[in-house]
Assembly symmetry: C2
Homo-oligomer: 104 residues x 2
DNA sequence: TGAAATTATGTCGAATATGATATAATCTAA
DNA sequence: TTAGATTATATCATATTCGACATAATTTCA
């Protein structure tokens, strides 16, 4: 992995192992991250379409604006569980969720 | 919710709120749990198909037999993240994973 | 049968995610 | 431009999940 990209990921909080480890875990790790990011995008798109602020969403979810921001940003501290539960709570249509999940 | 069922869920570790909260959260909570369970089943089916023990899977995942058992059992201490990463690590065929995830 | 293998359950310290808060950065209209 | 609104980032205490271990329950098969 090129150094610059690794630095960027590490700065964001992603754990990046050594070259061998990266090569070994890359496929499933990449798929996992891709899945998360697609759900993040789905969440943001859904909010934008409804013309709601992150604060609004936070209220609906019983969370905070900062966490909603992290969800949308794909922060590594955000779990698939939180993303999926949030999308469901926002009444995300099955199709939308499908579309995101299909990008795995 | 009927008392018996609630008792069963609580005994298993599931958080069950009061009636109002239950009614409010039921749909998405149910969908979330169903989603998890479908991934649990996918994991077990995949292991059985490969004729591997939970111990084998634990080694592959760098985890423990007890956690694999909990994954397959749909224990509430198991996250979607762990399930998805496990399925990916086991080389879950794309279609299989999608199918499981799409049961939302 | 019953011993060995496999799976299930309970518990724990450590690791990680959470909502909350503060505040910085960015965007939006006027 | 600039004030107000919105979003991003940093940090924290708390809560939850993790792998590990012990051990119980169940299954397998000779």
């Amino acid at each position: 992995m090129e150094t610059a990209k690794r630095k960027r990921l590490e700065a964001k909080g992603w754990k990046v192992g050594d070259a061998a480890e990266w090569l070994k875990l890359a496929p499933e790790e990449a798929a996992y991250i891709e899945l998360k990011l697609s759900l993040c995008r789905a969440l943001r798109e859904r909010r934008i379409r409804k013309k709601l602020t992150q604060q609004d969403i936070a209220r609906i979810l019983g969370s905070s604006q900062s966490r909603v921001a992290k969800m949308e940003a794909g922060d590594p501290s955000v779990t698939l569980d939180l993303l999926v539960r949030s999308l469901l709570a926002l009444g995300s249509p099955k199709k939308k969720l499908e579309h995101a999940l299909l990008q795995v």
